[in-house]
């Protein structure tokens, strides 16, 4: 593999990679740096990729930047855990705090399409009350958003991604039928379903963003099980295969291997464009509007690294909250052994879901959580045995031979916001000379109560299903949100209810950073729904002459 640093940008000179054809190209409208484009978008994942497509389709001129490469899955994605670490944000970040979180492959992406290139495709809606958890449930914070409005945007995303899901979903208000039939549940998912039935909680086949039948240029999923390492067949409906092609077709320009280091502001405090590093040189793209869409670490890092005389504490930071309220989601697990061969590496990794504890309020902890069946590949599984049980040497080899008999369930929990959990800048710099982030994290007492409850529940489900040799994995996390919170008060939030920063009228944030709370489900569907909403808000303002 050629290290990324030695790769050259692919999207240039009027063309971009066609992700659906080996060695293929598709035309791309290109802008000189000196052109003042309507929108410069920093990041091309669930937030930036979606927004780029919609804004371009609305007729705005758009340039979207990604620090990572523009891959063609058919040519570039090996069927291999180790090699596919090429998809992650592998640049150094420092982690500390009472419970330092692991980054890299766990929760980051550095590629056109962002982390959706290797996400597990879990596509769940928030429980409606979770948008108002402070006023309705007594914890967390309220979103300045009405769930009924979000329900409409969820509909749009589910159609855009052709979500494969059950005929009826057991939790929450009615929703339209999922566009595609559900994927069959593998043995690990079936084990979880049996256990859920026996302990008396509901379960469902998981709604997934990988197609169960042909769709456009995407073939149906062939159950390889490498979803979290990049889908080499393009069955997965990621930003790379859905929103980026739409963005290009509508006239957006995508710049790969383009690291944005700073948003420039003028004497009036308005953004004028972005400084970015590409092809060995720093360049400047002029723009009428700038959107930060780098996710919950790179977005605050960019805002903090863009400090200026008008914005000495970093851009959009008059509240002091840029980088604050970082939330990860508890991702603890319980694992067990079955006499039958299970082979949980086959098929997408999370085929069975229970949202029981998102919708049941008879509980002694704040927040909700989802449970889902698991299918780690060998490197990750060895890491579980090492990290959770401390096994190495012969003891590790003996346990690893049981691989095909393992089952497991993990939680995706609603981690609570705390200003002490944050992204700040260190004095260390990266290869671009940019200060690198420090990520500080510790579970709140509420998180700890949720985690313990979920572990007991997962043990009960696996035990009821007949699994033995149960053990807990107590230290894992996933998904990152917060750090540029949305709200309706400029003193307690970074962006307004439209996604525009309070301090800089032509600077927006469109990614998981704006989440006031994480909800008890994986965030990608909500990030995409919010991106569609932001695009509509922008169009409405433009129509009123308020942009």
């Amino acid at each position: 593999m050629t290290p990324i640093e030695e790769q050259s940008p692919r999207a240039a000179e009027g063309r971009a990679p066609d992700v659906f054809r080996s060695g293929g190209w598709t035309p791309m409208r290109c802008h000189p740096d000196g052109d003042t484009v309507d929108f410069a978008i920093v990041g091309t994942g669930a937030g930036g990729g979606t927004l780029a497509a919609r804004l371009a389709e609305m007729g705005f001129s758009v340039v979207a930047f990604d620090a990572g490469p523009f891959f063609r899955p058919l040519d570039d994605f090996a069927s291999d855990e180790e090699a596919q670490s090429q998809l992650y944000w592998n640049d150094e970040r420092i982690t500390d705090g009472a419970d330092p979180i692991k980054l890299g492959g766990n929760n980051s992406g550095k590629a056109v399409g962002g982390s959706t290139v290797h996400f597990a495709m879990v596509s769940l809606r928030f429980r409606p009350e979770h948008f108002k958890s402070r006023s309705r449930l007594g914890y967390g914070a309220d979103w300045p958003v009405d769930w009924r409005e979000m329900w409409g945007y969820y509909d749009q995303v589910e159609r855009a991604l052709s979500i494969s899901g059950p005929l009826t979903y057991p939790w929450g208000p009615p929703r339209p039928r999922y566009p595609y039939r559900p994927h069959p549940m593998n043995a690990c998912a079936q084990t979880m379903a049996v256990g859920c039935d026996r302990v008396g909680i509901g379960w469902s086949p998981m709604p997934l963003a990988t197609v169960s039948a042909p769709r456009g240029k995407s073939p149906p999923c062939v159950q390889r099980g490498f979803c979290r390492f990049g889908c080499s067949t393009n069955a997965k409906q990621s930003a790379l295969t859905v929103w980026i092609p739409r963005a290009l077709a509508a006239g957006a320009e995508i710049r790969d291997l383009a690291m944005v280091g700073r948003v420039e502001t003028d004497a009036s405090g308005r953004a004028t464009g972005v400084h970015y590093h590409r092809d060995g040189a720093w360049r400047f793209q002029k723009a009428r509007h700038v959107v930060a869409a780098g996710y919950a670490i790179e977005t605050p890092r960019l805002l903090l690294n863009s400090a200026s005389p008008q914005h000495p504490g970093g851009l959009a930071n008059s509240s002091g909250l840029v980088g604050r309220n970082l939330m990860t989601q508890p991702n603890q697990g319980v694992w067990g052994w079955m006499a039958d061969e299970i082979r949980f590496n086959k098929a997408p990794p999370n085929l069975c879901v229970s949202e029981h504890w998102n919708y049941c309020d008879d509980k002694d902890f704040p927040g909700g959580y989802t449970l889902m069946s698991q299918g780690p590949l060998p490197q990750e599984w060895a890491g579980v045995q090492l990290g959770a049980r401390g096994l190495w040497g012969e003891a590790l080899r003996r346990e690893m031979v049981e691989y095909n008999h393992q089952v497991g369930i993990k939680v995706v929990g609603e981690g609570l916001p705390s200003e002490d959990n944050c992204v700040t800048l260190t004095d260390e710099v990266d290869r671009y000379g940019l200060r690198i982030p420090r990520v500080t994290y510790g579970w709140t007492p509420g998180d700890k109560a949720l985690i313990e409850h979920s572990l007991q529940q997962m043990e009960a489900v696996l035990d009821a299903a007949g699994a033995t040799r149960l053990f807990r994995q107590t230290d894992d996390t996933n998904h990152l949100n917060g750090t540029a919170r949305m709200g309706d008060d400029p003193t307690t939030s970074v962006v307004d209810p439209d996604g525009r920063t309070w301090d800089v009228p032509n600077l927006w944030v469109c990614d998981g950073s704006i989440f006031p709370t994480t909800g008890g489900v994986n965030p990608s569907l909500t990030i995409q729904a919010m991106a569609l909403r932001t695009a509509d808000r922008i169009a409405a303002k433009a129509a009123r002459g308020e942009l």
């Binding site: 090996a78 592998n90 890299g104 080499s232 067949t233 401390g390 040497g393 012969e394 095909n404």
Partner: protein, 212 residues
């Protein structure tokens, strides 16, 4: 440890529909890595080889995975993984200091290099590192338990389970592109998956995984 998947060799599938060109390139390159240092000095390399034997022993006749060489190449490329516990120095410094410290500890405890310890003493020292009990000045401010968990064991174990030898050992199907899997129910295997032993039936099935 008895052979759970008798005769199963995941590499027999290399030229089947379960492997595509990009996967073949990646795995071929991994198997071609030569088991010698390119970045570490001779003393550190000896220590690392011994540490690999302790953390990931590789008995049996199958060719061993060159684990120390994988660690060495990651150091040569300064290949980071996106985060670093604040208690650790950067990758190269952590490994260099950790390996030197293991030698220092071995000398203090047994008067010999880490690489010359007998198996019990070597594994005893690794266990003490895991428990954070090693604290000679050679570690500096790096806690030995964090070095063990985030670097030493983490890097060596991950390297082993990225190797086809390990996949064959645990009956893992390995690469699966473009052909994926069909049979998902408990107790069901596709003909191109490993068959669990014991017995001749499993051995015969495993002899066929590369021919379907």
């Amino acid at each position: 440890m008895a052979d759970r998947y008798p005769g199963y060799d995941v590499m027999a599938k290399r030229d089947t529909l379960s492997w595509d060109d990009v996967t073949r390139r990646v795995i071929d390159a991994r198997l071609a890595v030569v088991d010698e240092p390119t970045w570490l000095d001779a003393a550190a390399w000896r220590t690392l080889v011994a540490l690999c034997h302790g953390i990931m022993p590789q008995p049996g006749g199958t060719p061993r995975a060159p684990l120390a060489a994988y660690v060495d190449r990651a150091l040569a490329d300064d290949r980071r993984e996106g985060y670093r516990d604040a208690r650790l120095p950067p990758l190269r410094e952590a490994w260099t200091r950790g390996l030197a410290a293991l030698d220092t500890e071995a000398n203090a405890a047994r008067g010999t290099a880490f690489a010359d310890l007998d198996r019990a003493a070597r594994d005893g020292l690794i266990g003490a590192m895991q428990r954070g009990e090693l604290a000679s000045a050679a570690w500096g401010d790096m806690p030995s338990a964090v070095f063990f968990a985030d670097r030493a064991a983490h890097d060596i174990v991950r390297a082993y389970y990225a190797h086809p030898r390990a996949w064959s050992e645990i009956g893992y199907g390995g690469p699966a592109s473009q052909r994926g899997y069909v049979r998902l129910d408990a107790g069901k295997r596709d003909p191109w998956e490993a068959a669990e032993g014991p017995g001749d039936t499993a051995a015969r099935a495993n002899a066929r995984v590369g021919r379907v």
